[in-house]
């Protein structure tokens, strides 16, 4: 039996990390993308630099479903260490492509899958002298073989190679040679193509293929960030690196050659957060980026920024917790710890991007929001979004856009004012006017502190003044609801008594699950939440539906708890649909879990 499909399959590469396979695999994904076919690559990597198994999984899907799908249709096996599970993971009728330089032992032969042996290492050894190059070119050889096996346009691949080595032209011919070696060997020795092929399509329009972290880095540059304090941690590191790289390109003053930005690699996340607070207090647009363990460290400072009302932007690229957890796997596990981060009564706005385009837009937007609201704002990305390439809408920027620094008084403003207090709620929206150090020689100075103070920033232990101040901050929370992006609905109107709620990277598979259910005649209304605090639209959706499935990627249904806690919703209405094994959630998982609840009166025929 052989699987026969066009533009609809999952291919997995089993590699050893540190073997240089990552760039080859990315070229594979990019080639499919350039053929106009929706593609969704996922790098499944270990927390290690060299030697451990790593997988690269690519879903190719003409219909544009970009969520993960279980099961492997083609396995490209390059790692003897994971051979047994890799063979087991192949779907019936699928293909197992391996290096036949060494014969595959008969015990590894499964009768229900198809074996495709290619002497990759032999070809590499015959054509390249240096062992390190043999290893590297073995990767390109399998890419060439795949071109023949599944009909990838080899010229597209060559084009990508040429771009990749634009600055090292010398390397292009040898890469082409390796590519041709694999390609020709298949043509001369095997029946090709396989039953699984790709075919040029037009499903992508002007979309781009980019990582969420890269998008955030760019969003920070466009959003006007000038200061970043940061400390390395997977999966957030590439945001800081990306920001610095873009700044080197776009933020160097042409005349003086000097930098219009400052990147400070801090001694730890505590210091990183302190730097952001100091910079924002001093009127710069500043941000930091980290993951769960870093947020935990920063929490004392986050409370200070909340209470002293200092803008902060923190991009939390979430990973599997608790503690060091699964540092290279994805989850949405920091919902509650971020929402209420720090001691005392605190709560913080969060934005939930679900694709790189939103990472770009929301990073820029959060720099405005933090300044408008004078409080820490969290961009809740995750490893899947941040570190994997996603097909997404191109980035857009309105050149007329002005950076919003919120309510800041200039020297002229201060001269006109008869009275000013840092924490006076003049506009009755809970947001007060601040001053930046250095503005005016005799007006507007005040003392910023994390201790209780009155409207004029004077220290006080008077309980009634304290209550007045913290209640006013709560009023700001209401104002916040008007500023953060509202939910997105995937429905015409309220048709069903059943509802779905999801956010962030869960969106891909949730939408796919909805389509599958709809094809079965099951209609469910759905809402993607883009931010916290929840606004009236969110509340309305919750009251208008009898059963709402809340899909999220953590064990404890944290988002569901947040909804219950904030909106006083009857918990029995909210049914948790959870996935937390560290792999991005799939549509099949969502449907299975929904069915298991026995709440829907119908069965879904699983494909």
């Amino acid at each position: 039996m052989k699987i026969n499909v066009v533009n609809d399959f999952v291919i997995r590469f089993a590699n050893v990390n540190g073997s240089g396979s990552a760039s080859t695999n990315n070229m594979f994904a990019k080639s499919i993308f350039r053929m106009g076919i929706p593609v969704s690559p996922k790098n499944i990597f270990p927390s290690n630099i060299q030697g451990l198994p790593t997988w690269f999984e690519v879903r190719v899907n003409e219909n544009g479903y970009l969520g993960r799908r279980d099961g492997v249709d083609i396995m490209v096996s390059l790692n003897p260490q994971s051979l047994v599970p890799d063979i087991e993971s192949v779907n019936q009728g699928g293909y197992f492509i391996y290096d036949s330089t060494k014969k595959l032992h008969s015990q590894y032969i499964r009768p229900d899958i198809n074996y495709v042996g290619i002497p990759m290492m032999q070809l590499a050894m015959d054509n390249f002298k240096i062992p390190r190059l043999q290893q590297l070119f073995k990767n390109v050889i399998y890419l060439g073989a795949l071109c023949a096996l599944i009909n990838i346009d080899i010229d597209i691949v060559k084009g990508i190679i040429a771009e990749q080595f634009e600055k090292k032209q010398k390397l292009i011919p040898s890469n082409y040679l390796a590519l041709d070696l694999g390609f020709n060997w298949v043509k001369e020795n095997l029946e090709y193509p396989l039953g699984i092929t790709v075919n040029t399509s037009d499903k992508l329009g002007n979309k781009i293929l980019v990582e969420g972290n890269d998008a955030s880095a760019l969003g920070a540059v466009y959003g006007g960030a000038t200061v970043i304090g940061w400390y390395p941690i997977t999966p957030s590191t590439s945001i800081a690196g990306g920001f610095e790289n873009y700044c080197k390109k776009y933020r160097v003053d042409k005349d003086s050659g000097k930098n219009k930005y400052a990147v400070v690699q801090a001694e730890d996340e505590l210091a990183a957060m302190g730097m952001v607070i100091g910079a924002s207090w001093n009127g710069a647009r500043a941000f930091t980026t980290t993951s769960g363990p870093g947020v935990s460290l920063m929490s004392e400072f986050i409370g200070l920024a909340y209470f002293a009302e200092i803008p902060v932007v923190l991009i939390n690229v979430q990973r599997g917790g608790p503690s060091t957890g699964m540092p290279t796997r994805t989850q949405q596990p920091d919902i509650l710890s971020t929402a209420y981060c720090s001691h005392g009564d605190t709560k913080h706005p969060m934005l939930f991007p679900s694709n790189p385009t939103e990472c770009f837009e929301m990073t820029a937007e959060s720099l405005d929001l933090a300044n408008i609201l004078q409080t820490p704002v969290f961009l809740m990305s995750d490893l899947d979004l941040g570190m994997n390439y996603h097909v997404t809408e191109p980035f857009k920027w309105d050149d007329n856009k002005k950076y919003n620094m919120g309510k800041i008084l200039s020297a002229e403003d201060l001269d006109k004012l008869e009275e000013w207090g840092r924490y006076l709620d003049v506009d009755k929206d809970g947001i007060c006017y601040r001053t930046i150090p250095g503005t005016h020689p005799s007006k507007g100075s005040f003392f910023t502190r994390g201790t209780s103070r009155d409207e004029y920033a004077k220290y006080t232990e008077d309980g009634s003044v304290y209550v007045r101040v913290v209640d006013r901050i709560l009023k700001k929370w209401d104002t916040t609801k008007k500023h953060v992006p509202g939910p997105e609905f995937y429905q015409k109107e309220y048709n069903s008594q059943y509802g779905l709620i999801f956010f962030g990277t869960t969106t891909y598979s949730a939408l796919e699950a909805m389509d599958i259910m709809e094809a079965e005649g099951i209609e469910i209304d759905s809402m993607r939440i883009k931010s916290f605090p929840f606004n009236e639209q969110v509340e309305d959706f919750l009251t208008k539906h009898d059963y709402i499935f809340v899909i999220e990627q953590n064990r404890d249904a944290q988002f569901r708890s947040l909804i219950i806690n904030e909106l006083d919703i009857n918990p029995s209405k909210l049914i948790p649909i959870l996935n937390y094994d560290g792999m991005p959630i799939t549509a099949a998982t969502i449907i299975n879990l929904i069915e298991k609840t026995n709440i829907l009166p119908f069965k879904v025929e699983q494909v």
Binding site: V210, G224, T226
Partner: protein, 348 residues
């Protein structure tokens, strides 16, 4: 308790070069214990800033948590202040400094705030040569939490617990030197003549200026057998020399025997007189040795211990533009939609 001092101004009150009177540099009335060394340091800060004719709004005062860290309320009320969290003044100052290189940053900390909870941030601020004055009001104990030994309490010294300190003391000045600090000084809260010129020199220094200022806690650690008590310091204090700070615009004519002059970056001069033999504040190695000797002899060495007048601060290292980052606008910062289209193309 806080209350604002009367702002009555005598018409004949002396003003400094930019027309401010001394009280313009003062703060609200201190709520520290009467006789607390920290208050004397505040007074020296006020005097130094008045003398230097610093525009109050061009200075930002930042502190951590502790009695010492409260003092920024008691000086320079026309300057923005930031009482941050315990031990984290250096990072807040780093961020503030990155945002605006044009202000003077005055960081105030305690020995608990710096040598224990904030040690990590302190050493990294030194390492980055952040352009700031960093004053540790060092009383060998945690004043605000009622007198526990701090990490600068000397081995064997007897504080509030009445049990001799069983641990070795951290000498912050020695540590700062070791870390490559570019301005390292030690002084005593009671010695205004020494402290004021040191603060001025620290402000003039275009990098990290560290002043470890012994500042007795009269309530918890002023026993005769504490090395951070008034009596101990008065009896065992050995100065590297008498200091005199001369602002850049004053002509320097004195150059007689026994005086070493140090020219600071902004053209101002530090005169050191009555130097102990072989003292050279530009020689890191001999300073390390002298500090160790003084410790061995139970002496507290004060004065300007070391200075490197050629140092590069974090902005120089970062090659930051001359305009403060917090003043840059859309046109300076945003690459624009045309560029974005090109960037998009790179993602296809």
């Amino acid at each position: 308790m806080t209350f604002v001092k009367p702002t009555f101004r005598h018409p004949k009150q002396a003003t400094n070069k930019i027309g401010f009177v001394k009280s313009d540099y003062e703060g609200t009335i201190s709520t520290l214990c009467a006789g607390c060394g920290h208050d004397s340091i505040s007074a020296s800060i006020v005097q130094a800033c008045y003398d230097m004719s610093i525009e109050p709004h061009k200075l930002a005062k930042i502190s951590g948590i502790g009695c010492s860290s409260k003092t920024p309320t008691y000086f320079l009320s026309n300057s923005h202040g930031f009482n941050s969290v315990h031990g984290r003044m250096p990072s807040v100052t780093t961020g503030a400094n990155m945002a605006n290189k044009d202000l003077i940053y005055l960081g105030v900390s305690g020995d608990g705030d710096t040598a224990s909870i904030g040690m990590g941030q302190f050493v990294h601020a030194v390492r980055r040569n952040l352009n700031m004055v960093y004053i540790v009001m060092n009383n060998g104990c945690y004043g605000l939490t009622k007198g526990q030994d701090s990490a600068t309490a000397d081995f064997g010294s007897i504080g509030k617990s009445k049990i001799p300190t069983p641990f070795q003391a951290i000498d912050l000045a020695a540590l700062c030197l070791e870390l490559g600090g570019t301005f390292v000084a030690r002084s005593f809260s009671g010695d205004k003549n020494q402290l004021i010129p040191l603060i001025k020199a620290g402000i003039s220094h275009p990098g990290f200026a560290f002043i470890d200022c012994i500042s007795p806690c009269v309530t918890f650690n002023n026993n005769t057998n504490s090395t951070k008590s008034y009596t101990f310091v008065r009896d065992h204090h050995e100065a590297t020399g008498t200091l005199d700070y001369i602002p850049p615009e004053k002509e320097i004519s004195i150059d007689y025997e026994g005086i070493t002059q140090v020219k600071l970056h902004d053209g101002s001069m530090l005169n050191l007189s009555k130097l102990s033999p072989n003292w050279n504040p530009k020689d890191r190695f001999s300073t390390v040795k002298r500090l160790a000797e003084a410790k061995e002899n139970g002496q507290i060495l004060t004065g300007l211990l070391y200075i490197d007048t050629e140092s590069q601060d974090l902005h120089t290292i970062n090659n930051t533009v001359d305009i403060p980052l917090n003043q840059l606008k859309e046109k300076d910062l945003c690459p624009g939609s045309k560029t974005l289209e090109k960037i998009n193309e790179g993602f296809r």
